[in-house]
Each structure stands twice: as C-alpha cells, then as structure tokens.
C-alpha cells in the first residue's frame, strides 16, 4: 500500500504537482486498516485533509470506515466491485491489483495514462517481466472507467523533489560524515536502519538500546561521528548513556522519532510529546542541543548539522522527528544547504585519552575536589551560551506587534504554512531548535501581541517553554490522538481559543 501511494505521488509530480503522502497502518505485518492519504496541489506546503475527494479501498469493511470522510463531489470505489481483483487474477499476480487501482485513479482524475506508465517504468527498471505485468495492470485499470473528461496538468519541467522525512534525514546523516550508527529496530525509525545498512556507515544492531547508546559513545570516543536512532521507549533506556556523554563530553547524535506514548502507546502513530523528556532526560545538569526539523529540507540540513554541532561543542545532540514526518512523503523544489565542518580532537591511538563518567580533572582522572568540580561544571555549562539561530520567522500582513503569532516546532511547519495561505494576517514562528531555546525568537515573541502554540501533545510543552522564556501566557491549539493536524483543525482551534 505504501508503494502504491509512493508511485501515485511520483506520477502526480511528473504532472507538475506538489504532493503529500501520509500512510497510516496498524501494528501488524499484513492487513487491517492500512491506508495512504495522497494530497496534491499546484502550490507547495501541504497539510493532511479531513475531507477527501476520491476513495479507493480493497474490502467492503475498509470502504465503510472511510466513506463518511467524503467532501462535496466525493467519489468512492471498492476495488473488488470495480474489478481490480479480477484484473490481477487474469494477470496471475494478486499484487498488481494495486497498480490496476492506480490506473483507475488516473483515469478518474482525468490524467493521461502515459505519465503513470513512465513512473512505473522507472520503478521496475531492469525487471522486464514484472514491469510488463504492471503496465498491463495499469492499462486494464485505466480502461475500467469510461470517463472521458480530461484534466489540465500543470506545466511539466518543474524539478520537484519527493522524499520521506527519513530519506532526507539519511542523506543529511551521510553528508554529515556519520561513521557509526547503533540502531535497535523501532517504529518510526526502522527505515533509517535499513537505509544505513546499505551505506558505508558501520552499522551495529545492538542487544538493546542501552548497549546501542554505549557502543555509539565508544565509537565516538574512538574517533567516528556516531549516532543512535530510536523512539521514546528506546530513548528511555539510553538516558544513562546520554548523561555519560554529557559528563565525559563525548559527541553523540540521537535521533528520536516520536510516536504516541506513554509506554508502548500507539506504536505506529505520531506524537510531539517527547520535548520535555529529551530536554530534561538524565540526572544532574549538562548541556545538550535539541533539533526539530519541520520538513524534508530541514531533515537533510539538520541531519548533517547535528554531527557538526556534536563535534563542535562535544555535547549530545538530540534530533526529534515523529512518525508523521519520518514516514510520510513530502515535496519540495529545493533541498536545504548543509556544509560539513571538521573539528579536531585527540583520539586513542594518537595519545593517552581518558573519558570519565565520574567528575574528573583536565587529564580525565576521577576527582572529587570541590574547586575542580566548580571549574568543570562552569566549563561544561558555559559551552552553549550565545548559540544563535534556531528558528524561522514568517511575518504576516499585520506585523509581529499587531496580529496573532502562531508558534510551532518540528513537523507542524508545512501544515501551518498551508493554513497561512488563507490567513495572511497571522505571523508564524517555526522553532527548529527548541533547546537551547532561540534567544532571537524570544525577542520577537516578547513583542508579539498574541501568541498561540500549535502542538501535537496534550499539555502544550513548547507553550510552557515559551512562557518560561517570555514570562507571559501563551495560547494553545493541541492535538494528541496520534494523527497529524489538518488545516481544518487549526482553523477550529483558533476559533475556540
């Protein structure tokens, strides 16, 4: 199903549209209400929608689940009833029912079959037999609908990039010079593991996340740019190692793909509820950086930058994504810009280097001396003072001082930008580095007349953080049911403030 959604997205991009593909699936290998939402538009910045125009399901039960989501002019089809299974049966491969479905959708939408065919050709390049089968299925599916209307496609030739958050992140990770990754499988970071397994990065699938974090610290100490990737549950196990990284000043990048908690929660659904957790995890006090990319450009840029920052400041860098950002596919016309920066440190093999989880002196020997402790705390805690950047501001028609200012972090970025298309009077601050909280953003927010945080959690964790920084109340539009925001929900939330 994910593959069919991807093919459709990419075929629509060939027609010049921007697309968003959001997959939703239960925690089981096959079956269940496994679906993808594809949104396309001639304008960029797309949000999931509540009301759909076209529904195609496999199975009556799934049809009944989704038929009430229809917008005005809604068309719904059940795959078996329109003959998709029959086509697959004729062709002797049940899997091509999906491709037949794509052919059908293309006809209903009024697009030319040959564009879909081009995309299918690219996907099955070099696999002649399976390609032929899929082309036949697409054609037969296309012929089911007798509709003759033709829809104007966008001007072709636009260079639209289509990627999932995890794909963009992995590109950044590789550009950032990552040399070692410990990853214990967990939704939603599994595709990072499988992509890195095919790269030149030394990949370690540890016995648990405790070992994963410690091995990554060992690799970093020995000179590799090292990372872990997990979700909140795995990160819970990594916290003791995180503290060691803070104390021993070992650079480490931790990718935390948020999913619905607490505990096992809803394993395959999204969340933005781990901000408080990652900013405060670990006993004692130590500096850390928390990044929260909001789109694929930022996934790429911050995926690389995380390694520069970890090396530069010798601190843990936590990069928060979420299931929505990780596994959905987004479109953009240009990627972010990232530049690899080298930072030298002495390594084992060059000289005697110590790393110590105890308080220690400059040589790395364990030391309880009070003057030494005060000196070392001051050294560590002072490392990030003056860190600049961390946010992007979009000033509305009415300016910062007059109109309402929306604030979001992480994966809400494009959703809010889509919402702003109808609300040019609002300003928007997107925080891509929630910790340390961007000081320049504090200056803007202090001047703003009314601030509303939009977050995928129950309590408003960013809102709390802003309040702590500007000493004023912040309004909240919150959602915590595992699904991403839709434009309509932000509109309703705004009205109910």
């Amino acid at each position: 199903m994910m593959q069919a959604g991807e093919t459709l997205s990419k075929a629509l991009i060939r027609l010049g549209f921007y697309t968003l593909m959001y997959p939703e699936y239960p925690s089981r290998i096959r079956g269940g209400d496994n679906h993808v939402l594809v949104v396309f538009s001639s304008e960029k910045y797309l949000a999931p929608v509540e009301k759909i125009n076209l529904l195609l399901t496999f199975g009556r039960e799934n049809y009944r689940k989704h038929e009430n989501e229809g917008d005005e002019g809604f068309e719904g089809y059940e795959g078996e009833e329109i003959g998709l299974k029959e086509i697959a049966k004729e062709l002797g491969n049940p899997l091509v029912a999906n491709t037949a479905g794509l052919g059908f959708i293309f006809k209903v939408l009024g697009f030319e079959l040959k564009v879909l065919e081009e995309q299918i050709r690219e996907e099955f390049k070099g696999k002649e037999e399976i390609l032929k089968l899929n082309l036949e299925a697409a054609e037969k599916g296309y012929e089911i609908s007798k509709r003759q209307s033709k829809r104007q496609s966008e001007t072709k030739g636009k260079d639209i990039i289509n990627m999932s958050g995890n794909e963009a992140l992995v590109e950044g990770i590789l550009e950032g010079g990552c040399g070692f990754a410990s990853i214990y499988p967990m939704t939603p970071i599994n595709s990072i593991l499988t992509m890195l397994a095919k790269s030149k990065v030394t990949l370690f699938r540890p016995e648990d996340e405790i070992a994963g974090m410690m091995a990554a610290l060992g690799a970093s100490y020995a000179g590799k740019r090292a990372m872990v990737a997990t979700s909140g549950g795995g990160f819970s196990l990594m916290v003791e190692g995180l503290g060691m990284a803070g104390m021993a000043e070992i650079p480490i990048v931790c990718i935390v793909g948020q999913r619905t908690g607490p505990s096992t929660g809803m394993a395959t659904f999204s969340s933005q509820a781990d901000l408080n957790f990652v900013t405060s995890a670990g006993q004692g006090e130590f500096p850390r950086i928390v990044l929260a990319p909001g789109d694929i450009q930022e996934c790429y840029r911050l995926g690389g930058e995380a390694f520069n920052l970890a090396e530069k400041y010798r601190v843990p860098v936590i990069l928060l994504t979420d299931k929505y950002l990780s596994e959905s596919r987004f479109s953009t016309d240009k990627m972010g810009i990232f530049e690899y920066k080298q930072f030298l440190r002495t390594l084992p093999g060059q000289t005697v280097v110590r790393a110590n989880s105890y308080e220690h002196d400059e040589e790395g020997f364990s030391c309880d001396d009070k003057a030494n402790r005060e000196r070392m705390m001051k050294k560590r805690m002072g490392k990030l003072v003056g860190l600049s950047g961390g946010f992007e501001g979009f000033e509305g028609n009415e300016g910062w001082k007059k109109g309402m200012t929306l604030v979001g972090w992480g994966s809400t970025k494009e959703i809010i930008l889509d919402f702003l298309k109808d609300h040019k009077e609002f300003s928007f601050v997107h925080i891509w580095r929630p910790w340390p909280f961007p000081q320049e953003a504090v200056e803007i927010l202090k001047r703003a007349s009314r601030i509303v945080a939009i977050e995928g959690n129950y309590s408003g964790q960013l809102a709390d953080l802003i309040e702590k920084n500007i000493f004023r109340k912040v309004g909240r539009i919150l959602k915590d049911n595992g699904r991403p925001f839709t434009k309509q929900e932000i509109e309703n939330g705004r009205k109910n403030l």
Binding site: S182, F204, G212, A215, A222, G349, Q350, Y358, F365
Partner: protein, 236 residues
C-alpha cells in the same frame, strides 16, 4: 617495554591487602610483554573498586557506567580495530547489572577482552549479595544466607559462544599475567575471570584453592560448572 610506562601519578586508594594490586600488576605486565603502547590500549571500566584503576593504569581509560563497559568497548573496537580493547567489570557489573551484554558480546564473538574481577559481593556499596555470591553466604543483604545458586561468567560466556575462556586468581600474578597476555592476543571474544575475594566483605573466601589446567579443553561444555578449575579453560 618497561612496566613503569603504565604507572600514573595518582594515589592508589584500594585497601591494604586488596587483590586489586595483583590484578593491576598483572595487567601492566601483560601489556608490557605484548609491547602495546599506552596510547594503543583502551581499558573500559565498570563501576566498583577494581574500576577505580582508571586512575592507576596509564592507558586510554574510560570510566563507563555500571554494567556497561562491554558495549562501550564493542563500539571502540568497531570504530578502530587497531586498538587493543579491554572491558573490565566486577561480577556486579558483568554478571548482574550487565549480564546480557556479556552474553551478546560472546555470541557475536566481538574481538575484545573482558576481565571480570570477581570478589563475590557488592563491595563498594558495603557488602550486598550479587548474582555470583556463593549459595548460603551471609551478606548484608542476605543475613540468613544467600538462597541462590551463583551465576558464573565463565559458564555464560562459554555457552553463548565466547572463543577464549579463562579463570585465574589475582594472588597468582605470574599466571594471571600469562592468561591476560594470551587473552589480549586472542582474535575474537576472550573472557578472563579473576578470582579476587574482598578483604573486608568476603574475607572468608580469600583462601581459594584451585586446580590449574595444563591445556584448554577442546569442548566448551567441559568447563561448565567447574568453578575450581583455573587457567585457560577453552580456546577456539
């Protein structure tokens, strides 16, 4: 290479008569005989009395976390295979808090040496029973005697797939030196259990009698359950 190169300027804080001195001397001797420079040896320590050797041994030292010296060491070795990597821990760290790491490193046959300093008790925290405390022993957490059969690092590593398994006694410095030397030369996972009862909390166990094996057994099953056998018990 002179052993002195492995000395530091730090004060040794172990109790008088502690077997730790024997362990430290044997490690220095073995590194010296193997001609491994301090910059090329990484010793990853657990938490506990023996782990305080980070201050007493001049190699690349890492004071890791309780139970976690093995995974840190695995990462070091994967990142730079030219380094000689030793993970240290007491029986509290290696077979209690971090026993799963021991099993998995042995299963993967990771090319590191694990040294377990077995004093049969949590000593630094004032004498509570660990997973390797002998059955019946009265400790401060088992005043009526420890009800459990002890867990053996040697047995766990052997069953899980470790390819070099040894047990020595810290008071036998020359033999311990030789065993550690062979362990660090071994390609693959090596485990050296050093018996070193605590002079404060398990002093009734200090006088240990063991039988030194002449050559390693050919089958790992031969070493199981034989806690009085010392020397290189198994090598593949």
């Amino acid at each position: 290479m002179a052993e002195k190169i492995f000395d530091t300027n730090q004060e040794i804080t172990w109790c008088p008569g502690c077997a730790g001195y024997g362990f430290l001397t044997a490690v220095k001797n073995a590194l010296s005989k193997a001609e491994i420079a301090p910059k090329d040896a990484v010793m990853v320590y657990d938490i506990g009395c023996s782990a305080n050797a980070i201050n007493f041994l001049n190699v690349c030292g890492v004071a890791a976390l309780h139970g976690r010296s093995i995974p840190f060491a695995v990462g070091v070795k994967m990142a730079n295979p030219n380094l000689t990597v030793i993970a240290q821990g007491g029986e509290g760290g290696i077979v209690t808090e971090g026993a799963n790491h021991l099993i998995h490193a042995a299963q993967r046959n990771d090319d590191i040496t694990v040294i377990i300093n077995n004093n049969f008790v949590f000593a630094l925290t004032t004498g509570q029973a660990s997973a390797a405390t002998p059955k019946g022993l009265k400790t401060r957490s088992t005043p009526a005697g420890n009800p459990f059969e002890p867990l053996s690092a040697v047995d766990l590593a052997a069953v899980a797939g470790g390819t070099f398994i040894a047990r020595t006694n810290a008071f036998e410095i020359q033999k311990t030196t030789e065993v550690i030397l062979q362990a660090i030369k071994h390609k693959g996972f090596s485990l050296v259990e050093i018996i070193q009862p605590c002079v404060v909390w398990t002093k009734e166990l200090v006088k240990q009698e063991g039988e030194w094996v002449k050559k390693p057994f050919g089958d790992y099953k031969e070493v199981l359950g034989k806690e009085k056998l010392w020397g290189i018990l198994y090598q593949k």
